[in-house]
Structures are given as C-alpha cells and as structure tokens.
C-alpha cells in the first residue's frame, strides 16, 4: 500500500500527474528556502563590512555609508511589545466573552465580525491611524500624558500625535483579531466535561473560567499572543505611516522613532550598493526574529488547539482532571 502511494512508482494510467503534484510540493519547499537564501545573499556584503558591530551601533548614515541596527531594532521591539501589552488582555477578554459568556446566537456573528478586522488591509489602518487616531491622540491622551506625566522620562517631550505610542496603538488594533480568534479556538478546545465538573462542584461561572478554562488553555493562549507578536513585528506600512520615521532611539513614548520594517520601506526605493545590503541585513534580522516567534507560537497552539496532546501529556494523562484544576484553594 505504502509503495503504491509513492509518486515515484505511479500505477498505469497515472501519467505525470503524481510527479506534477510532488513537484508543486517540492517547489513550496524550494521557495521558502530560496527566500531565506536570497535575503542572506543580499545581506552578505553589509555583514562583511560591519560584522557584529551592525547589531551594536546606532548610527545610520547613508552619506558616510555607516549603518547600525540599534534604533530600528529597538523601535520594532518597543512598538510590538506595546501592542502586545494593549491587545493581549483585550484579546483574551474578548475570546473569553465569545466562547464562554456570549449568548449562543451571538457567538458566531460576533466572532466573524472580529475576524473581519483582520481582513482590513494594513495601509487602511495606516490611513486611519494617520488622519483619525494621531490627531485625536495629539490633543487628547497625548496632551494629557505630556501635561500630567511629562516629568517621567517615559512621557517627556511634546505630544506630536505620531510616534511610538500611536504606532503601538495601531499595531494593537491590527493584532487584536489574531489574538482573539486563536485564543477562542484554543478555549473552545477545552473539553466540555471539565466545565460541567466544575459546575457540579459548585463553582461560579467565573471560577470555572479562571480555574479550569484558562489554566487548561494557557499554553495555547501564549501561542496566540506570540502569533500576534509575530504579526506586529513584521508589520510595515501601517507603522511607517504613524511612527514618524526618525531613525534614532526615541527619547520617550511620545517621540517619533523607526522600526526595521519602516526603515526598509522608507529607504528601499532609493537605496543601492552597501545601503541596499544593509537594509537586506535588517530584513534578514526581521525574518529570523519573526520566524523564531512564529515557530514557537505554532508549536504551542498546535499542542492545545488541535486536540493532539504532546506525547508527554499523553503519558501523564492526568493533566486536565477537574480535581487537579481546583488546586489547593478548595
């Protein structure tokens, strides 16, 4: 049986068909590999020129051909972490509402509506962020922070509207649907018996959520958060439009900054030679970071959402019993 399934030994009448489909599978493999190789190849001259110092210097000067990654990397991390801090609790709360609390007739349409937010293109988020959010933020929350918390280094300087915090807000909106949808899937995968067992033990609905549902889906929700993080790290256009594109380490959350992606978008069209290579090196850095984050995320989500417990859990077998989840508090 196994032998006949090999595309290398087609039966009569199969013709080239099995080869064709196998070729498509191989091409996906090659495509993914070649993306990595091509970026690596393009980034090589810059790596030769700067070496590890690229990662530890903060000068970005196309005139003198000196390039350092620190401001862009810092901007990428700070905006994405801000987005995660804002969207994480909101997304998980929404996922709990959609899977546990909402009346049945509301669950599907509401979930779909949230997922529609994911379909809105990045550039439209940027447009909205630039013309609606930023002006409002400048005179509203931004001004408030400047006036009342300006003595903190975090909020010093004038409120410009565009800047790190605005970029974080826009990114948060963009990753909310990802976090919500995947957390919801993970929460829905929690076996119904566990919930019923908790109710039978006399718990309230919230106790059931806090002591059974969330601990059970903890790993998957972490994965959902990481997938959101991965999306925000690589986000280019929307951030470029609202972050202000100042290639320095921002003095505060209200100041303009730069991310890896926005730097590439801004300089790519006019770049050549070493500058181009430096941008590709930045791209490679971004590729590696997002790849690592996504891999871990997919692994975590897969472990819980697909209902395939890892072999370790299978062996323990006892992980999800209500008695264990009740813990020592009861």
């Amino acid at each position: 049986m196994a032998a006949t399934e090999q595309p290398t030994r087609p039966q009569n009448g199969e013709g080239v068909f099995p080869y064709f489909t196998a070729a498509a599978a191989v091409l996906i493999l090659l495509l993914t590999g070649s993306i990595l190789l091509v970026v690596l190849w393009g980034a090589w001259p810059a790596w030769q020129a700067f070496g590890p110092a690229f990662l530890t210097t903060s000068i970005w000067d196309p005139v003198q051909n000196l390039y350092g990654a620190i401001p862009a990397v810092f901007g990428t991390l700070i905006t994405s972490l801000l987005a995660l801090a804002l969207a994480g609790p909101l997304g998980i709360g929404t996922a709990i509402f959609l899977s546990e609390l909402a009346p049945p007739w509301l669950k599907k349409p509401a979930s779909f509506t949230v997922e529609l937010l994911a379909a809105v293109p990045s550039v439209v988020f940027g447009l909205w962020g630039l013309f609606v959010l930023a002006p409002w933020f400048r005179v509203g929350p931004g001004q408030f922070l400047e006036d009342n918390l300006g003595f903190l280094p975090l909020f010093q300087g004038p409120s410009l509207g565009i800047g790190v915090l605005t970029a974080g807000l826009v990114l948060a909106m963009m990753i909310l649907p990802t976090i919500t949808a995947i957390s919801r899937e993970v929460i829905r995968a929690v076996p119904q018996e566990l919930r019923e067992a908790m109710f039978a033990l006399g718990s309230t609905r919230w106790e059931m959520i806090a002591k059974v549902v969330l601990p059970t889906s903890k790993v998957g929700i972490t994965g959902a958060l990481l997938l959101g993080l991965g999306r925000s790290l690589g986000e280019a256009i929307a951030v470029t439009m609202v972050i202000g594109n100042a290639n320095l380490i921002p003095a505060s959350l209200l100041a303009p900054a730069q991310t890896i992606a926005s730097l590439i978008v801004n300089e790519f069209p006019e770049a050549f030679d070493l500058q181009l290579s430096a941008l590709l090196l930045l791209g490679l850095l971004l590729f590696i970071i997002t790849l690592a984050v996504n891999m871990v995320a997919v692994w975590l989500v897969h472990r819980t959402a697909q209902g395939i417990p890892s072999s370790k859990e299978k062996r323990r077998g006892k992980k999800l019993t209500p008695r264990r989840c009740l813990g020592d508090g009861h």
Binding site: T21, A25, I28, T32, L116, A119, L127, M241
Partner: protein, 280 residues
C-alpha cells in the same frame, strides 16, 4: 470566609470586564469602517473610478489605472498561485505521511509567517535587481508568493473533508488515483477551494509592501507587464503621505473601494461556508 456573594460579585465584575473588552474591539472595527465610509464616500463617483490621476493642483483625477493595476496583479498572482497551491495540496492529501509532505507542511507554515515586506525584498532582489526595472510582472509574482501558502493550507483542509468512503468507492470501481482526484475529490471539494481562493485574493488585494517594492507605482495606464504599475494600496500609501488635501481625500476614496472589495470577498466566503454547513 469567602461568602457566596463575594464570589459571585467578583465573577460578575470580571465577566463584565470581558464584555467590555469585546465591545471595545467591536468599537474599533466600527470606528475604522465608519471613518472610511464617511470620508471616502464623498470622493467616489464614476470619473474617479475610471480616470487617470491628475497632477497636483489640477482638479479631478482618479484611480482608474490603480484599479486596473491591482486587478491585473492580483489576477496574475492567482493564475500562478492557484494551480500551484492546489497541486501541492493534492500531493499532501494523497501522500500525507511522506517525509516530503512533512517538510512541505513545515515550509508552508514558515511561509505564512514570513512578513509581506520580506517577500517584497525577495522578489525585488531576484527580479527587479536582475532585470533592472520594477514591473507589474514582479508585483504579480510577489502576490503569488503571498497567496501560495494560504491556498495550499485551505485546500489541504478542504480536500481532507472529502470522505474516505468516496475515494475507496472510486478506486474500487477501477478508477486510477489521477481519475479519483480529478473527477471526484476536486469536484467534491470545489466549494471549499473557492472559499480559500477568495480569502487569498482578499489578502493579496490589500498588500502594500510587496507591491511597493516590486511594481512601484505609476501615473499612467498599464500597457504591458514589464512596466511599473499603479495599485490601490500603494496609491493610498502615497496619497496619504502627501501634503495635498485633495490627494488625501482621494486616498480615503480609494480606501473605501479597497475595503469594500475585501469585505465583500470575506463576507461572501463566510456565507458560502454557513450555507454549505446548513445543507449538510
């Protein structure tokens, strides 16, 4: 002693917080759609949709070439990505446990997570640097790379839904595997495949960074695929970043067109799924 009242009150409070966050998320979506509609609708009329952009300061001007450019590049992307993605999905469906299948699934998953900007960089380095010019062709290829993992993933899911009994019946009747796939499995899964394709098209239509790095932009009609080409997302990006109020207004108009197209694709796909589930 923690009385029942306190337990219930804590619960209600936290449940209320969840409700609040759901409302906030919904509010965010509504705010975006509201502004796009309100500020975009004024810019839209027939000449806007079918004419070329005008120089700064001259009234009128439209997004005709960007619409054509976007449509053409997305079509080109689909043309490349659909057969490719579905063929790969057929391989995965027919040979689920080979080493190649495992590797392809892994690669596909990696590909879904690659930022669109990186895909733009890739196609730029391979095509634009080589040939020396930005082109609609390169834009279409970049979009195809974006679409391939989406189509492959959804097609594999959809093919897996075709029941094993059908496949066995076909093989038992003496049909070859090729015949089973082409005449039975694919027709049975067509609905699901179409849904996946629609979502991939919606994704591709909204991409800015990959198109910006490969097809650049243009203020003229697209005459052949080796030219730079305008596209809706890049036009929105450029116009929004410009200091001219009439361009900014056109950016809103273009955003409304783009968002409406993408949402219609998504909602149709969703309705399709709902109706199919109801029928079964």
């Amino acid at each position: 002693m923690a009385t029942k009242k306190i337990r219930k009150a804590t619960g209600s409070l936290l449940e209320f917080a969840c409700l609040l966050s759901a409302l906030l998320v919904l509010l965010a979506l509504c705010l975006i759609l509201y502004y796009i509609f309100r500020r975009g609708i004024g810019a839209i009329n027939i000449p806007f949709l079918i004419s070329l952009p005008t120089p700064v300061g001259e009234p009128g001007g439209g997004i005709g070439n960007a619409l054509i450019g976007s449509a053409l590049m997305v079509a080109l992307g689909s043309l490349l990505a659909i057969p490719f993605g579905i063929a790969a999905a057929i391989y995965l469906d027919q040979n689920p446990r080979t080493r190649l299948a495992a590797a392809t699934r892994f690669a596909n998953r990696v590909l879904t997570g690659v930022p669109s900007l990186i895909i733009g960089l890739f196609v730029f380095t391979v095509l634009v640097l080589r040939t020396g010019n930005y082109s609609a062709l390169a834009g279409g290829i970049a979009l195809a790379v974006m679409m391939i993992p989406v189509i492959t993933l959804s097609a594999e899911e959809m093919l897996r839904l075709v029941p094993g009994s059908l496949r066995e019946a076909s093989l038992a009747l003496g049909a070859s595997k090729k015949q089973t796939v082409l005449m039975l499995i694919l027709p049975a899964a067509t609905g699901g495949l179409v849904v996946g394709i629609m979502l991939a098209v919606a994704l591709a239509a909204g991409q800015t960074a990959p198109v910006l790095l490969t097809a650049l932009t243009s203020r003229f009609w697209l005459e052949n695929l080796n030219q730079t080409s305008a596209s809706l997302p890049v036009l929105i990006y450029n116009y929004a970043s410009s200091p001219f109020p009439d361009w900014q207004e056109q950016a809103w108009g273009a955003a409304l067109v783009l968002v409406a197209t993408i949402l219609i694709l998504n909602v149709t796909a969703q309705l399709f799924v709902v109706f199919r589930n109801r029928r079964h």
